[in-house]
Assembly symmetry: C2
Homo-oligomer: 252 residues x 2
DNA sequence: CTTGACCTTCCCCCTGGGGCAAGGTTCCAC
DNA sequence: GTGGAACCTTGCCCCAGGGGGAAGGTCAAG
């Protein structure tokens, strides 16, 4: 006859766990001796090892209870299912390991693969990390707001990246972020941007105008989404007639 | 700007979980809009995906908190450790699968491999399942009471199994379980058992007398541990002078 | 103007036990 | 035979990592 501690040691569990199994109805309460101690038989030890084997396999205790006295065929079916479940969990853990390996390097984790590839292209162009983060966050917002459209927009933008003038504009626009608001290069850049937009709209397929939306979203929602030079660029592009006006109070 | 539901969808979690992360200090509480709704930025989405990636890897939330803003080298070290941990868990799951596969077939799960092999030998001898269960439970009790000695006893018993007379005695003793108490074969069997014991004790190396202890343990603690014929056998062996006495009241 | 889908806080529930308290036992050594 | 250590008993609260649902406020569409 075993005490609860001896029984627990045999199965490699704590006495707490054994009492827990009693409460859950997994293991029958054994006889008590004269002083109220529980007294177990070897049969209880076998039962406890069964319980632990199933529990170690991740079977919830509530289900273990049903399985202990199940018919052999029911048990076999359940075991097959549990085995499949373990295989799934192993596969999932493997995938998690792969994701984890990417956690060191970059943004691929946080966005869809397409966006990650796009960000890599921008990085290769030599664009600033600040801009790349801005771009990443913009795509996150878009994908959340409108997943299907975001995919289409992304495809469109990646196609545009094939245009050397567009790439140059992207790089220069990025660089302009740090310029002073009265930098003499700003009007020229604004003109190039407007010219490029005009060329786009004259093209046979006219894609939906999306940039304003994106830009506003990113500007409003993200810290560091704008700078004095970018603000002035926006004013320069919205209408050259008010240029002189803004010229005189660029830092308001 | 995202609502809590949109944010949760992006990361594939529930709004409950997001609020939980706020409570745990994993994710900073964002600004509220005029009606008290939380309003999130894309940066929060990135942060949330980070949290989930680590949590999916099995990192406790309390530790995730520390890792989110860790220096790259600290993070790299932690990730390496987490990766090792996952590999361990995968290995453990594989072992569990193997154990699970044995759950269908027999007793190997519940006892040490040595005992399991011994039980297989008994089975091959043609001994009853009842007896094998009794034997199994006896070894469980012994291993629990005295692990080291149990190993030695087991080795000894398995050596004895090499003796054809011992094997024959085992089989006959098992068969006697179901005999009636007044079966005429019992005195003969008792004589053979006593002769064999006598031979053992006369042998050069005299191993410790262990059978009485085991037998008592098993009888006392296990249901179905004895029968009228076995009881009579025990009396026959303990002293032939009282044989006639017991002959007259075998079923007391 | 209603209806359904959101959002808010609050509180209790689950699993699988762990920790600790307050008290009774048993065993082993001295 | 008498400590003291190591058991045992019940009872209660605690943890992670959320889930469920109540009770109420809000928002957008038809």
């Amino acid at each position: 006859m075993l005490t609860i501690g001896q029984l627990a040691d045999y199965a490699g569990v704590t006495t707490k766990a054994v009492r827990h199994y009693h409460e859950r109805g997994l293991l029958a309460e054994p006889e008590r001796d004269a002083s109220g101690y529980r007294r177990y038989t070897a049969g209880d030890a076998v039962e406890l090892v069964k319980i632990r084997t199933l529990a170690d396999a991740g079977v919830p205790l509530a289900r273990v209870r049903g399985l202990l006295d199940a018919e052999p065929d029911v048990l076999a079916t359940a075991i097959a299912e549990i085995d499949r479940d373990i295989a799934d969990r192993v596969a999932k853990l493997r995938r998690t390991r792969e994701r984890l390996a990417q956690l060191r390097g970059g943004d691929r984790l946080f966005v869809s693969p397409g966006v990650a590839d796009h960000l890599d292209e921008l990085r290769e162009l030599g664009m600033s990390e600040r801009h790349i983060r801005l771009e990443r966050d913009g795509w996150i917002l878009m994908r959340t707001a409108a997943p299907a459209e975001a995919e289409a927009w992304l495809a469109e933008k990646r196609e545009l990246m094939g245009d050397p003038e567009f790439r140059a504009l992207c790089v220069d626009f990025d660089a302009a972020f740090d310029w002073p608001a009265d930098d003499p290069r700003l009007p020229g850049l604004a003109a190039r941007l407007r010219a490029w937009h005009a060329g786009r709209e004259a093209a046979p397929e006219s894609p939906p105008v999306r940039d304003p939306g994106i830009a506003r979203l990113a500007e409003v929602s993200l810290p560091g989404g704008s700078s004095p030079a970018w603000d002035r660029l926006a004013r320069l592009m919205s209408g050259p007639e008010r240029l002189a006006d803004n010229e005189r109070a660029p830092l308001t």
